[in-house]
């Protein structure tokens, strides 16, 4: 496999396109130039850092360093899940539910693919484990955050309906079922939409990267299909665990709705 290597100098000309965006913002008074500048600097710094970190990890091929990198990725994902919630669970579960479900889903699916499909040597080789985890994590995170957001907002909005069912002798599962279904649908929808549009509307980033790196398109397609199946599995597992776990946390053993376990709505 051969590919055209880029130097940092090769990136100067394309970077002018971002400068063009900034100029447009100035001319049209969009007031986006500051945000654009910060986002660009962040992107460059973060990606270059990740590049060096991955280079180090690929060189040492250590299970401890790989696990530490995976752990940090999960922490960032769970923070992102928390930030995206309009109404957050109180206490430990603010982070705990998102982190636990992300770890469960993305970890399980990544291990599954490493141990049953890719068989790298060693099995935890960061060249395979971390990119796979990253892609699954990103999509699982979106599913979980959407599912939890719809769950908490739905329970607040549908409180009268849920409590009417409980008051008539319904179990917490029966009372929450319509809201749980909405939350699960919302969590699954981005993945389903993504699968339906892939290849027609856009070529996925990983597949494009492999093709640019010299892989045969059909080999790149096989990898992309593997990733999409893993993403679908991870998102399904993570969203299901988060929504059902959230439903359980927002009720109690006496089948009562416990909206007091949700923090006040965050502005914005």
């Amino acid at each position: 496999m051969t590919y055209i290597q880029l130097s940092y100098g090769d990136l100067i000309l394309p970077a002018l396109l971002v400068v063009m965006d900034g100029a447009l913002s100035l001319v049209l008074h969009l007031k986006l130039e500051r945000q654009l500048a910060i986002a660009t600097v962040r992107m460059v710094v973060q990606l270059v850092l990740v590049g060096y970190v991955l280079t180090f990890l690929f060189a040492v091929v250590s299970p401890i360093w790989t696990a530490l990198a995976a752990f940090i990725m999960v922490i960032f994902a769970s923070r992102e899940i928390m930030v995206r919630q309009k109404r957050r669970l109180l206490g430990f579960w603010t982070y705990g539910l998102g982190a636990g479900c992300t770890l469960l889903a993305a970890g399980t699916v990544t291990m599954f693919s490493l141990l049953t499909q890719l068989h790298p040597e060693p099995w935890y080789h960061p060249r395979y484990a971390l990119p796979l985890l990253g892609m699954i994590l990103g999509n699982t995170m979106t599913g979980i955050s959407l599912g939890l957001d719809v769950l908490t907002n739905g329970l607040v909005r549908e409180r009268a309906a849920v409590e009417a069912c409980l008051a008539l002798g319904g179990t917490r599962y029966q009372a929450l079922l319509p809201v749980l279904r909405d939350a699960l649908r919302s969590g699954f929808m981005p993945t389903i939409n993504g699968m339906a549009a892939i290849g027609l509307v856009s070529l996925p980033g990983m597949m494009t990267g492999q093709i640019l790196a010299g892989a045969e398109p059909i080999d790149a397609v096989k990898y992309q299909l593997l990733i999409m199946f893993l993403i679908a599995g991870g998102t399904g597992l993570g969203t299901l665990a988060a929504v059902m776990g959230g439903g359980r946390l927002l009720t109690d053993h006496r089948h009562r709705l416990r909206l007091d376990r949700i923090a006040a709505e965050t502005p914005g």
Partner: protein, 198 residues
């Protein structure tokens, strides 16, 4: 018999007994805690105290079963499905009661969103009455009804009381409290309850 001993929910702390076939009218200014009290007895909110039905402690009974026996009916009932009949275990069994409440036989297929406040209140009551509960906790059950419908509701509940159902009836209407209750509880700020014979 429903026995309420040292029931505590936020600032409310009460003890009383409700006999079979008895109706306690509950009155007090808005926001004083009448709804809190009824919901706590139904175990819809966290609360403390010993609540028993015929000597059986509430905590010894699964919560869904408790609420089928001690049923809270909200002033503004909630709805979880699209049509009326989906909220009833057996709609055909409910039709005579629904008709008696002044609603047509075919209202089962009506969309919830097209119901008036009064229709919702009558259907919410019908839905609860179909459970044949031992105790009914009625939270202003006629607040959205006209005089005719109110009379019908009062007579249906009176029949249930005659057949042994215990009722706590929260109302702002003093004359209704006199009509339906055999005892009157007046709740004042701080959750204090004063009992009067009617």
């Amino acid at each position: 018999m429903l026995t309420v001993s040292a029931l505590t929910r936020l600032y409310i702390s009460v003890s009383f007994e409700l006999n079979d076939g008895e109706c306690i009218a509950l009155q007090g200014p808005s926001g004083v805690g009448k709804t809190l009290l009824l919901r706590a007895i139904a175990d819809l909110d966290p609360n403390a105290g010993a609540i028993k039905l015929d000597g059986a402690l509430r905590e010894a009974v699964p919560a869904p079963l408790w609420r089928k026996q001690v049923t809270y009916v909200a002033a503004e009932p909630g709805w979880w499905a699209d049509t009326v009949q989906e909220h009833f275990t057996d709609w055909n069994d409910a039709i005579p009661l629904v008709a008696r409440l002044g609603l047509p036989h075919n209202c089962g297929t009506w969309q919830i969103q097209r119901l008036s406040t009064g229709e919702k209140q009558r259907l919410g009551l019908a839905r609860a009455l179909m459970l044949q509960s031992r105790v009914l906790l009625l939270d202003e059950p006629t607040s959205a009804l006209d005089a005719t419908s109110t009379t019908i509701v009062e007579s249906i509940i009176a029949e249930r009381i005659s057949s042994g159902t215990g009722v706590i009836w929260s109302t702002h209407d003093s004359s209704q409290a006199q009509r339906v209750g055999s005892r009157l509880f007046v709740m004042s700020s701080g959750g204090h309850i004063e009992e009067h014979q009617l």
